[in-house]
Every structure is written in C-alpha cells, then in structure tokens.
Amino acid sequence: MSNREEIRKRLQAIFQEVFDDDELEIDDATSADDVDDWDSIMHITLMVAVEKEFGMQFNAEEIGKLSGVGGLIDLIEQRAG
C-alpha cells in the first residue's frame, strides 16, 4: 500500500470521528464542499485531531489553509518526510 493510501485511511478514520459519520469516505478530490459541517470552525477541530493522530504540529498558516483532502495528505507527507 502506498504511503498516501495509508495516510488517507488514517485521515478517513479521523474524518469519520470528527464529523460523526461512520459512512464518510474521502479521497484526494474531497473538499469542504463535499462534507457537511466542514466549515472554517470545524476545520480547526479537524486539524487538532490530525496533529494528534500523526504526532506532528502544523504552523498557524498551515492550520488555517482549507485546501481539501489532497492538500492535507501532501502536507502530512511533506512533514513526515
């Protein structure tokens, strides 16, 4: 399994918990428009959970960037690499 796919799976579990929807599926193309409740306020709740899951810290600007799932995977890959 590719690294990106593994990140996507872990992210999906976070999305399901944060948005309280066990059916929620995400991919690179998923954006805030596709997920109910994914607004600027919930985005930060999401980022706090992502930081915890991947054991990393984003800077203030990265936290604020609402760039969709693809961008988020890029960010995690880049930070982990």
Partner: protein, 621 residues
C-alpha cells in the same frame, strides 16, 4: 478505567442506540474526564448531542460568552461538562471580540437572550495599560486600577440590564518575561502588574460577580501546554485546545457553586482511607497513621478533610467494621487529626454501603446529590456509584500520598461566598443528627420538642441578612412552596416596597444556634388578601414547630395590614413534595388547582383564629 475512550464511547453510543439515555449519560460521566484532549472532548460532545435534550432530565441554563478571544471551541466541552453536572446549557456567543460594545448595549442580542450567567472571557493581553519600565509603585498601581475599572464598568452594565450572574476570568500569567526574573520583583514588572491586576479584580468582586481563576487552571494544566501561540495567531484561541476540558470543568463546578448545587457532605471510609491497614485486624498499634512516610500520607489526608469541615462541609463515616473497633483510633490514636466530634454521622457495620449512605442522607435530611463518597476500595466505589448514581464517587489512586489531589481535583465543594452560617454548618448538622438520636429516646414527640428548648426570632430582611436570605431562596428545593429564585437586587426592590412583607426567621435550641433558617415574602392580592409569594425553610429544622411559628407570624402580618385572607400557593416540582400538604396541615382550605398543577389554598383571618402552638419561645433577633 481500562477501556480506551474510543472503546467506551462505543458503549455510550450503544446505550444511546437503545434509547437508554439515563444510562448513556451515566456512562459518559464515568468516561469523560476533564483532562482528556480536545479530540476526545469533541467525541463526548457529539454523543451528547445525539441524545434528545429533553430526555436527560437536566435543568436548563442560559449562558452568554463574551470576550476578547475565540469562544467557539469552548462551547463543546462546556456543554459536556455542564450536562455531566446536571445542566442543559443554552450557550449564546457574542460576536468575536466585541466585549465592551456587547455589554454596554442594552438593546443588543446578549441581553435579549436574557442569560443567567455571563462569562467574561479575557486573557493577559487585556490588562492594559501596563506600567512603564521603571515606573513608581504608585504609577504601577494606577495602571492596574485603570485596567480593573474597565471590567467593573462592564459588571455595572450587566447589572443594569438584567439579573445575570457574572463570571469574570482573571489573567493567566504568560510564560514570557522580557526582564526575566526581575519582572516578578519590580512593582512595574509586567508579571507583577498582572498579579496585581488579578488581586485587584478579586477585591472588586461583589454579590453577583465572581472570578474564575484562569491563572490557577492554566498552572494546573501546565502553562507551557496551556499557551499555544499557533492557535492564537491562527484563530485567536487564548488557551490550547487540550486545556479546554479542564477549563470547562472548573467553569461548570463554579456554576454549581453559584446555583447552590455544590456538594455539602463528605462520606469517608476508614481502613486504608483515613489510616493504613485494617483496625480490626492490625489493632491500634498496627495501623499506619503518622510516624512513617505512608502514615504521613493519611495524616495529610485527614488534615485536608478537617479543613473541609472547618469551611462547613459535613463529614460522615461509612465503614465496614465493628463499631467499637472503628471508634477506637478516634478516641485513642495520638496521630488522628479527625475526632469523633468532627463526624456528624458515624456508621460502622457490615451492611452494604449504599444502604448505609442512604441512611446517612436521611439522618442529615439532605439529598443524595449533596454527598461525596471516598473509599480506597474500587469495589465499594463501584457499588455506590452504580446503586446511587447521584452520589459523587471520585476515583482514588492506589497511593495515599495522592488522596488529597484526587479529591481536590473534583472541585465538589465550590462556593462563591463564605458566611458565618457556612462556618457553623458542619456543627449544625452534627447537632441535628444528635437531636435525631435524642428523638429516638422520647416516645412522646411533644416531650421531645419541649426538651429541645427552642427559641425563635423574626425580623424584616436587612443588609446584614440579605446574602443569607438570597442563599436560602436560591438553594432550597425541598421546603420551597413556589420555587421562586431572586437576585439580591430584586429582593432589595421588594424590601423597599411597603406593601410587601419580607420576613426572616432564626432558630436556636439547646444544641446550638441554627441561624437564619426560614423566610417568607407576602405580597398584596386584591384589596383584602396577602398571597404567600415565597415560603422557604431549611430542612434542618423541619417538623419542630417552626412551620407553625411562621404561620402565626403570617397571620399577624395580615392583621397588621388589615387583610382578611391569606392565600397560599404550592407549585409542585420533583423535589418539593415534602410540602405538598403543608397548607392543609396549617388549616388552610383548598380553593383551586390550575392546569399546571399549581394548588391554591386559603385561610380566613378571623378574629377568633387562634395562634398555632409550637414549643418555641419567641426571643429578640
């Protein structure tokens, strides 16, 4: 708890799916710790929100948040912690960073929301101006005064525009110190100025305003983790996300204190809780108490309990022991801090602890929701927690060195005031329990009452009695006919109205002074009647003739004002069934019951209406 939060949140969700909401809330209470991280707090919030609000039996509470930082993320842990403490919180958030405008606008959305509590959420950045480096002590003081005046002005505005209670955060002292250690030395030092601000803010508190000690909460959480500048820069969050559960917990417990719902009584196990070892097995010389590192830990825990008692928390013992064995250390061990006279009800037997705790509550005439139970034995804790879910049962650590911390972190006994009555409360409850055991010796209740040597006094409310009057009205649930709740400001309006009778009662007996234990507010009704707007009595003095004493006083008040009818109303609640037939017992006639179940009673004030005879002598106030 061995379950991970994820596993147990599933258990909560399963209970929700079965629509077993009471159990689900209890399971959430056992699971959700204030220290849990934000991601878990969010899960707790989600599962709470999945339950129908009306099914949880929580009391509604309207809270307005207004501040200089983002409050959105606080709302979730707040809803959770408040729900676990019995409140269904409706939270209104003011627009971001509009503190002064919002509170100064009488026509604004915040006052339209009519909050019961306004939380002014500020942080150290709001303490301006700070003294210039090298400023004199006087100049530094003037800066602090100006910073505080901004907030006292806002408190005035809240008081002018409603009856909300104000909770004001103080400043969490930040990490950075430009002048290093010297900032805490020089009067003009930034850190010292913030310390002075916090002290001045506390000194400025008045009835209806209290400070939430955010500086303490930040230190408890750990300041390095409390501050996260990234989230300040990104979204103006003044504390880190993972600290919000703890902050919400402290806020919620403070609300319990304000609403009179804090716990009143601490029920203590003995073996391995107040001393190490088992008295029945190890004997007086064998138990560990003082004299060793472990023994010291138990002495420290007893000292903490003793200090709780001194502030009015009632102490009781509930132990599986032979009574003589259980009492022996209290009587003979040189290192016991707690004495028998500190214990209001002492229960040592082999019955199950849930029954014994129920008995303790009945003896003290307080609700189970006023009790905290401390036991080193997880089995006993579990039994009590499951059979009596309204009793608070803190998790206790293995090591007695951490007992004090474990109990203290629960914040069970929050208060916003401390009065002479509080100081004497533990004694009064103990005396009351003694009265009860005395009662058992008398077969004739009248003989018992006569023997009590009761003396009562009455007086109109005044400045001295007002805080206690407000406390009694707002805290009483059981002997409260109409469950009115009044702020001191509203009470002052009634006191100023010559047509309204505002009378308070004190009672003393041979065991001691019970203080101010009852009050009535009578209002004119039509041309010929007075209606009992409020009739409250402390449950400590029930069934001792005080009801009759107050009754006589109300009749006299009618006569003095030329009124020929006294109307009593009973508004039933879950908790006040005790007084459902009070007016009947006092000789009133039932007239109507309205659609809400409120029953109206009437007493004709005729010339031949004789006073009812309590065994209570009248004295001066």
């Amino acid at each position: 708890m061995t379950d991970t939060p994820t596993k147990s949140i599933k258990a909560v969700k399963q209970l929700v799916a079965k629509a077993d909401y009471a159990e689900a809330l209890a399971a959430l209470r056992a699971l959700a710790r204030p220290e849990d991280d934000f991601t878990n707090q969010h899960k707790y919030f989600k599962v709470l929100e999945s339950m129908p609000r009306e099914s949880l039996g929580l009391r509604p509470l309207r809270i307005a948040l207004v501040g200089t930082s983002t409050t959105d993320y606080l709302c979730e842990p707040l809803r959770v912690r408040l729900a676990l403490d019995g409140f269904d919180a409706d939270i209104h958030q003011a627009e971001f960073n509009t503190l002064d405008q919002t509170l100064l606008d009488p026509a604004g959305a915040l006052y339209a929301f009519d909050p019961e509590i306004v939380w002014i959420v500020v942080n150290h950045r709001d303490v301006t101006p700070l003294p210039e480096p090298g400023a004199s002590a006087e100049e530094a003081e003037a800066c602090v005064r100006r910073a505080v005046e901004r907030f006292t002005g806002l408190w005035d505005a809240v008081a002018r525009n409603g009856s909300a209670y104000v909770i004001q955060s103080n400043a969490a002292l930040p990490l950075e110190r430009v002048y290093g250690n010297y900032e805490g030395v020089a009067a003009w030092g930034g850190i010292n100025a913030l310390r002075a601000f916090n002290l001045a803010l506390a000194r400025a508190c008045r009835p209806g305003v209290t400070v939430l000690d955010a500086d303490y909460v930040s230190a408890l959480h750990g300041k390095a983790a409390w501050f996260d500048e990234r989230y300040w820069n990104n979204s103006r969050n003044a504390c880190s996300f993972d600290a919000m559960g703890l902050l919400a917990h402290h806020f919620s417990r403070l609300v319990c204190g304000i609403k009179g719902l804090a716990r009143k009584c601490l029920v203590l196990d003995l073996d391995n809780t107040l001393w190490g070892g088992v008295i029945g097995d190890d004997g007086l010389a064998g138990i560990r108490l003082g004299g060793s590192a472990t023994g010291e830990a138990f002495v420290e825990f007893q000292r903490y309990c003793k200090r709780l008692r001194e502030r009015g928390v009632v102490l009781c013992v509930c132990s599986k022991n032979d009574e003589d064995n259980a009492r022996q250390p209290f009587l003979e061990h040189p290192d016991m801090v707690l004495r028998l006279e500190d214990i209001a009800v002492f229960v040592a037997n082999w019955e199950n602890k849930a029954d014994n705790i129920r008995h303790i509550a009945e003896t003290l005439e307080i609700g189970l929701d006023s009790l905290v139970f401390v036991d080193d034995n997880p089995v006993e804790r579990e039994l009590v927690a499951s059979m009596l879910p309204m009793v608070a049962v803190p998790e206790m650590p293995e090591d007695p060195a951490y007992f004090v911390r474990a109990l203290d972190r629960e914040r069970c006994f929050e208060t916003v005031a401390f009065s002479a009555e509080d100081r004497a409360r533990a004694d009064m409850y103990r005396n009351n329990a003694q009265r009860k055991s005395l009662q058992r010796q008398f077969t004739d209740i009248n003989e018992f009452l006569r023997d009590l040597g009761m003396r009562a006094a009455s007086a109109d409310f005044d400045d001295m009695s007002l805080p206690r009057v407000a406390q009694l009205i707002n805290k009483s649930n059981q002997f409260h006919l109409t469950t009115t709740r009044y702020t001191e400001a509203r009470l002052r309006d009634m006191m100023a109205d010559p047509a309204t009778v505002c009378r308070a009662f004190k009672l003393a007996d041979k065991f001691g002074d019970n203080g101010l234990i009852s009050l009535v507010i009578l209002k004119p009704h039509g041309d010929d009647a007075l209606i009992v707007d409020t009739f409250v009595m402390s449950c400590r003095v029930l069934s001792r003739g005080m009801e009759e004493f107050v009754h006589n006083e109300m009749v006299e008040a009618c006569r003095a004002m030329g009124r020929t009818r006294l109307i009593g109303e009973y508004r039933p609640t879950k908790k006040n069934r005790l007084v459902a037939d009070l007016y009947e017992r006092l000789g009133f006639a039932h007239t109507t019951t309205d659609a809400q179940g409120n029953a109206f009673w009437e007493l004709a004030i005729t010339d031949d209406l004789a006073p009812r005879t309590p065994f209570i002598e009248r004295t001066d106030w």
